[in-house]
């Protein structure tokens, strides 16, 4: 594969957390253990145009995106709620959104992750995530939890049988548990991103802490 990437000598640094030294901006709420009911959306290939349509991307500040989360699935053209859409069904609520396979495909708009966070979700569960969406979620404090297709199916079935079914997402232990049955699965997250989410850090905090190293690297590059 074509690659121009070069490796710098690894500089040793001292860290409070394993990864970062800086004072934090607290870009989002810390994530530790989340116990909540969940909202099921068993549709595959939910793209970010559905999560937040392009016409709602005209803001220059990060405000109000939750109101337009799933806008065209949630509201009729006359702005009345579509009663058959899950977010308009009072039976379902919670801080966890459970989506179908390939959740968050398409446009890189971080507004999709903002809308999910702003609406009140702190985690999205799916058997498969699109790359950019997953990354955007991790960068703003929404935890993407990828489970096996079988476990996703169990969650949908359990919520369907009892909408009050709770899930427990334990980030330090990297587990998701269906509390009605006790069934549990582990999920992947890089140690770095896990540390960020538990502490409410973001990548800029980290990158700022290695700025000298970046500048040294850049000094040897053509534009």
């Amino acid at each position: 594969m074509v690659s121009s990437l070069k490796m710098l000598t690894h500089h040793s640094t001292t860290h409070n957390s394993p990864f970062t030294t800086h004072i934090k901006n607290m870009a989002y709420d810390k994530f530790n253990i989340l116990k909540s009911t969940a909202v099921p959306l068993p549709i595959e290939n939910v793209d970010t145009d559905q999560i937040i349509p392009a016409r709602f991307l005209k803001a220059t500040e990060r405000v109000g995106f939750g109101d337009n989360l799933f806008r065209d699935w949630r509201y009729n053209p006359d702005n009345t709620p579509k009663t058959d859409f899950v977010l308009n069904n009072p039976t379902y609520s919670g801080k966890i959104l459970v989506g179908g396979k390939n959740f968050g495909s398409g446009s890189s708009r971080e507004h999709a992750a903002w809308a999910i966070y702003d609406y009140g979700f702190r985690a999205v569960v799916s058997s498969f995530f699109a790359d950019i969406f997953r990354n955007n979620c991790l960068n703003i404090g929404v935890l993407p939890v990828q489970v096996s297709p079988e476990f996703a199916e169990k969650i949908f079935t359990a919520i369907h049988a009892d909408p009050k079914t709770e899930l427990e997402i334990n980030l330090p232990a990297q587990t998701i548990t269906l509390l009605s049955t006790g069934e549990k699965e582990t999920f992947d997250i890089s140690p770095y991103k896990k540390d960020n989410m538990i502490n409410g850090f973001d990548d800029i905090d980290y990158l700022q802490s290695i700025k000298g190293e970046i500048e040294e690297f850049a000094a040897n590059l053509p534009l």
Partner: protein, 455 residues
């Protein structure tokens, strides 16, 4: 790579950063709230495209929200010393069209933009991919982002393409084979004589669509075609720097014994002009085929049915002959000169169908000038078409170029998602030739039946 984190992402230095009005304002706000600046403003370039009108660009932008966003890009760029190609600027245009045109795109460079179609620049052997706004802020602040290492896939297409088969068809074919998520987690290298024989414009179309099968990026090894395109452009290296760059470009190819996590090979001669029938780009097929049954499609039947219901189509139907209300030629996928040449070659001597609205939107002012200089505009005008001004336009319908609810569009853009071209719009993705055939007949039409000598 600046640094590798054990068990975590790599710290990647970004050579060239492109920004536009939609995904950058919150990043600049972030810088302000942190009290930090832009580390290397000469590595970032700003153009307005997503939200711009495609007629009367000399007038003030009517929509106050759009105007505000365009103004924010200008103010932020000026404040931090970033080159800004706003509406009315001669270099203004779609970010993934103007980047290569002005030589910002260079082989081997790392290039990012807050736009998923940044994969386009991989056509030059650049490592290029779309990012979110948090990452835009990271690049502005530190010129770096943090990314996990992707898996590697190689897709080989060999053989001679048939009459009327364009790079867009090759890409839509590959996506139809892999599905809309088949390359998620991968960077894709396109190889084989079909890509070797392709122009830079064609390669950009193919790499552009990599994201539509989930791939973060796609790339094609640089060769003489690449070097001929890059040489002499405004931001390309000059003199001694060019000689040095050239030597470097020539090293940018996969080793003969490179191992890929996945490798696929297709026969290019089997590909026909493609069209999509559903609500993701993986739902495409040869234009002469019938819409598949749910049983023959990977994934859940409920999702498939929802998709066909939205489109107003049924399993087993022909696509040929379906009514078309709108035709859109443009976007970062098919808004380059070759696309307008192809469209014009088919409509020449024919006339726009009466009940079709056709939007022809060049990707940049350079493309617009080429259309005029090559005499294409005269042919288009004669055939009843109007050329609009550069921008993203109906690809995502953030401006006024919206397909109304329930109406059908044949579009050369990249996404047929529900409501993508306007709330309730129904999109069929296709090549500029299929778009041309629809524009003159008002129906989905196989372009191969319309003219003998196709480009």
């Amino acid at each position: 790579m600046v640094r590798k984190i054990e068990g975590g992402p790599d710290v990647l230095f970004i050579d060239r950063h492109l920004i536009h009005e939609v995904t950058s304002p919150v990043a600049f706000l972030g810088l302000k709230s942190r009290g930090i600046g832009v580390l290397y403003p000469n590595r970032t370039f700003a153009t307005a495209d997503h939200n711009t009108p495609t007629i009367n660009q000399h007038l003030p932008v009517a929509d106050p929200l759009s105007a505000n966003q365009l103004k924010a890009l200008e103010t932020n760029s000026n404040e931090y010393g970033i080159s800004h190609w706003g509406l009315g600027h001669q270099k203004n245009g779609i970010v993934h069209v103007v980047g290569p045109e002005y030589g910002i795109t260079q082989p081997g460079a790392t290039i990012v933009c807050g736009d998923s179609h940044t994969s386009t620049h991989g056509a030059f052997g650049a490592i290029a991919f779309g990012i979110g706004t948090s990452e835009v802020e990271m690049v502005l602040a530190t010129q770096c982002i943090m990314q996990p290492k992707p898996k590697k896939m190689r897709i080989n297409v060999n053989g001679k393409l048939g009459k009327g088969v364009t790079p867009k068809d090759v890409a839509l074919f590959i996506i139809s084979q892999l599905t809309t998520s088949g390359a998620t987690g991968y960077f894709v290298e396109y190889a084989g004589d079909v890509f070797e024989n392709m122009s830079m414009e064609g390669r950009m179309t193919v790499c552009n669509l990599s994201i539509e099968m989930g791939a973060r990026g796609g790339m094609i090894a640089p060769d003489e075609t690449t070097i001929d395109y890059v040489k002499g452009r405004e931001f390309s290296p000059k003199g001694e720097a060019w000689d040095k760059a050239l030597a470097y470009y020539k090293t940018l190819k996969s080793d003969a014994d490179a191992v890929f996590d996945k490798e696929l090979t297709f026969d290019g001669s089997k590909i026909e002009p493609m069209i999509t029938y559903g609500t993701n780009p993986g739902m495409g097929m040869g234009i002469s085929q019938d819409i598949p049954d749910a049983a023959h499609v990977e994934g859940g039947a409920a999702t498939y049915e929802k998709s066909l219901t939205y489109m107003g189509f049924s399993e087993g139907e022909h696509m040929i002959g379906k009514k078309v209300d709108f035709v859109f030629v443009g976007s970062c996928t098919n808004g380059r000169i070759e696309d307008f040449r192809a469209f014009t070659s088919l409509v020449k001597g024919k006339h726009k169908a009466d009940d079709v609205t056709v939007w022809l939107v060049p990707g940049s002012h350079i493309v617009e000038s080429q259309i005029k200089e090559e005499g294409l505009l005269d042919i288009l005008t004669e055939a009843g078409f109007v050329l609009r001004q550069p921008g993203c336009s109906a690809c995502l319908a953030m401006n006024d170029d919206k397909v109304p609810a329930g109406k059908y569009a044949v579009s050369t853009s990249n996404r047929n998602f529900e409501g993508r071209q306007g709330p309730g719009s129904r999109t069929m993705l296709a090549s500029p030739l299929v778009a041309a055939a629809a524009a003159v007949t008002g129906k989905v039409t196989d372009p191969r039946t319309l003219i003998e000598e196709l480009v």
